[in-house]
Symmetry: C2
Subunit: 474 residues, 2 copies
């Protein structure tokens, strides 16, 4: 049986592109270590027609397909888990930039292209592809699309979904839907593009996409505020959004504990002000319009905020090097938490206005539930998205702390749910949060998710076990 | 049978809110005159729970539900067409603004609220709701959502869908999905919000929504260019997008014939330049940031475009009154076409870059197919969306010209399809374009649309006959 499907797949892609054993290992890593993926084989088609043929071969052999591009996801979305039946379909050979249409300001790119290569192709054409993730050299467009990736400048440019104008998708029955139209307006039927984006390989396999491009940035200002409360951060964010004409391109909140760990562990990080602050807010303003009006708007807003007593400490980057220094502090928070040892992570969102109240509730709640825990919240305050990460008590055992994960999740996610937030803001559901989805979604929504899954993938052939559990009791 | 369902509906909403006979007539008008709607009754629930109860009563009586809000649609989307079985569910009593969250910059509003009232509520809170349609005093939010309405400033703010953060929906089985979260990031399952937006009442009944708000405009520049070719318009659009930092909020192309009809029929319209031009382009730049840098960016771009020989004639509005004059010309095009007699309309879109080539093909094609026809194309060139309208030959008979509609549609839509465009850019499918959808969509896409319809509305109870024809041969 295994031999037969391997042979059929080899017939489609060539024997060299059907990997098993050691050759398959790189595709079976899950870098957070939460899953031990296994699969019958890894298959690497070279183009869209081959992807469709692989799907049809898997149908014939009654195998399931787990699509994978950069394999940098954080929720086990491509962690295949059946060595007899799961075929990992790697998209990395579909890496072409198919084209750039300058007058339409669009980029057409295949799912296996790295985000960084897509950014470079846009820049080479004198345009700007704004999606920005720390993993940009490794993550690939297919995964960005499958997870509706967020990142560092969603506050201005939106999530991945907001950048998409069209898709090419291989369906669960092995057909190709070509919707690479590049249309900015199209109301000819239900919105399939947005349904496939963020569907984590469970409804179809995205093989290519058309993205909107922006004009290159020619004017930028970066500043770091020291604040007493998250409410001040929300106020600063609101003020700068209006004053800059909605050109706030970065808005990152950092807690005192998160910054302290960065200063302790990461080279080039130092306390930004004379005295440590309870909260820090990084802001970036940017525009493709020339002039220095963004710096003027920032200066004016800072003067007003000082006069109102909202801001005491602030540092405005004098030049690009100064801006990089401020961003370096922010980008050092995740590796600093890793260096400090075990942490329990929560990727949550709330309405921006409710972030202060959430922190008021969640911080005491986790401290009570996990004595000695060191919460290191940080994240994209302009999007209402916090990485509410909890570092283990100083000097404690990693494994003992991580054994509390389910309890910590319940404490945090229950508060999020009560306050109308999301337990899966930008990383997706994958396999990690299937139970949380079942727990927190209204039955009517769960029923709709399952109905859509069954409509587009009636045999549960695409990424089974991800997003929705079809076997769970309703 | 009819008496029993009327009684059941009266039990839900009260006898006064179940309308038949003359009282139902206003809900059975279809203002383009393309349909003669008929229905068993019009029912006017007062709140979401009542909407759900009406749906359940219709299930019990095996009736279908056609949701209606402002009844200003252009494609027969709420033209019920079965006097024995169709119940028109008017949402106009659900007209509340439920709230504005200033720190989250969101507006929560019910489906029966007029667009103008929603705009006013945002303005009263010091914010700006950017969706702008000529029908804003009559159209209602539910219809804006159901059709994913476009309008005059999509080029900057996007379509209605781009403004939505969450929905409240009554499902086909009469349950309520409350997703009025106001979250800017939420990847907890497939994207149901975007699926319901633009689904024209065929997948669920949207009863309320959370919209993103913007900051009020404090700086604005409007100009009118006289041009020789559509390609020049594309070039000007591209230049101004970059130079203004993507603050191009209006970008409207107008053909010489369209402007000539406005000058002939509408008060306050006059040829803008000494000699008539083949094409005109209205541009508006706007920002919530203070200063006069947009005017400077516009001035600089105009100087460059003149030096390059791209632009000869241009008029920059000196003040708000001048800006209104320029917009008045644009807004006069549709009524001028009505005043001139019969016209055949096409709401099409293409990649912005292909608009010139489309016009090069389509203008001679319609002139050959319909001798004497006067094409009056105009529209949202920044979105690639043209209203490719054809006025009848001067002095000819209205009915005779309109009898050529199907043939004209085939000529125009075939070219659009060959060039990768859409035959339904911003008005939707409704009942008017069901056959076009069946003709132009790939079978794989049609199959997916039908699968989704069946998944969320298995008994075809919601707006049957709209969007997809479930009985058509595949």
């Amino acid at each position: 049986m295994a031999a037969r499907i391997l042979e059929a797949l080899a017939g489609v892609v060539g024997a060299d592109e059907v990997l098993t054993g050691d050759a398959a290992q790189p595709y079976l890593q899950e870098w957070r270590g939460a899953f031990q993926p296994r699969a019958l084989a890894v298959v690497r088609p070279a183009d869209t027609a081959m992807v469709a043929a692989v799907v049809r071969a898997c149908i014939d052999a009654d195998c399931a397909i787990v699509a994978q591009s950069g394999n940098t996801g954080l929720v086990g979305g491509c962690a295949a888990d059946d060595a007899r039946r799961h075929v990992i379909l790697s998209l990395e050979r579909l890496s072409a930039v198919r084209g750039i249409d300058v007058d339409n300001a669009t980029l057409t790119v295949e799912a296996g292209c790295t985000l960084a290569d897509a950014q470079r192709a846009a820049a080479d054409a004198g345009l700007y592809f704004p999606l920005t993730l720390a993993s940009r050299e490794r993550c690939r467009i297919g995964g960005n699309l499958a997870t509706n990736a967020g990142g560092l400048n969603v506050v201005h440019y939106g999530n991945t979904r907001d950048l998409v104008l069209g898709l090419e998708v291989v369906t669960a029955d092995g057909r190709v839907w070509d919707n690479l139209t590049g249309l900015r307006k199209d109301n000819s039927g239900f919105d399939l593009n947005d349904l496939f984006v963020g569907s984590e390989g469970a409804l179809g396999i995205i093989t290519a996409a058309v993205f909107k491009l922006h004009s290159p940035i020619v004017q930028q200002s970066v500043a770091l505020f020291g604040l007493d409360t998250p409410a001040q951060a929300v106020g600063v964010q609101r003020r700068l959004t209006a004053a800059s004409g909605h050109n706030l391109t970065g808005c990152e909140l950092m807690s005192r504990q998160a910054v302290a760990l960065a200063c302790a562990h990461i080279e080039g990080c130092a306390e930004p002000f004379e005295a440590a602050c309870d909260w820090y807010l990084l802001v970036e303003l940017a525009s493709s319009a020339s002039g220095d009006w963004l710096a003027a708007a920032l200066g004016g807003a800072i003067a007003d905020l000082r006069a109102e007593g909202i801001v005491r400490s602030v540092r405005v980057a004098a030049d690009a090097a100064g801006a990089r220094d401020i961003w370096h502090l922010r980008e050092s928070l995740p590796p600093a938490q890793v260096a400090e040892g075990a942490s329990i992570k929560h990727d949550i969102s709330l309405p921006v206005s409710r972030l202060p109240a959430f922190l008021d509730r969640a911080l005491p709640a986790v401290r009570e539930a996990l004595p000695g825990v060191r919460p290191c919240p940080f994240g994209h305050v302009g999007d209402g998205n916090l990485h509410f990460n909890l570092s283990k008590p100083a000097g404690s055992d990693d494994a003992a702390f991580l054994s509390e994960t389910a309890r910590a999740n319940a404490v945090v996610h229950d508060i999020v749910a009560e306050m109308g937030g999301s337990f899966a803001a930008e990383h997706g559901i994958g396999r990690l949060k299937v139970a949380a989805l079942a727990r927190y979604k209204q039955p009517v929504e769960r029923d709709m998710l399952i109905a859509i899954k069954r409509a587009l993938d009636p045999d549960n052939r695409l990424n089974p076990g991800a997003v929705v559990d079809l076997d769970a009791p309703s």
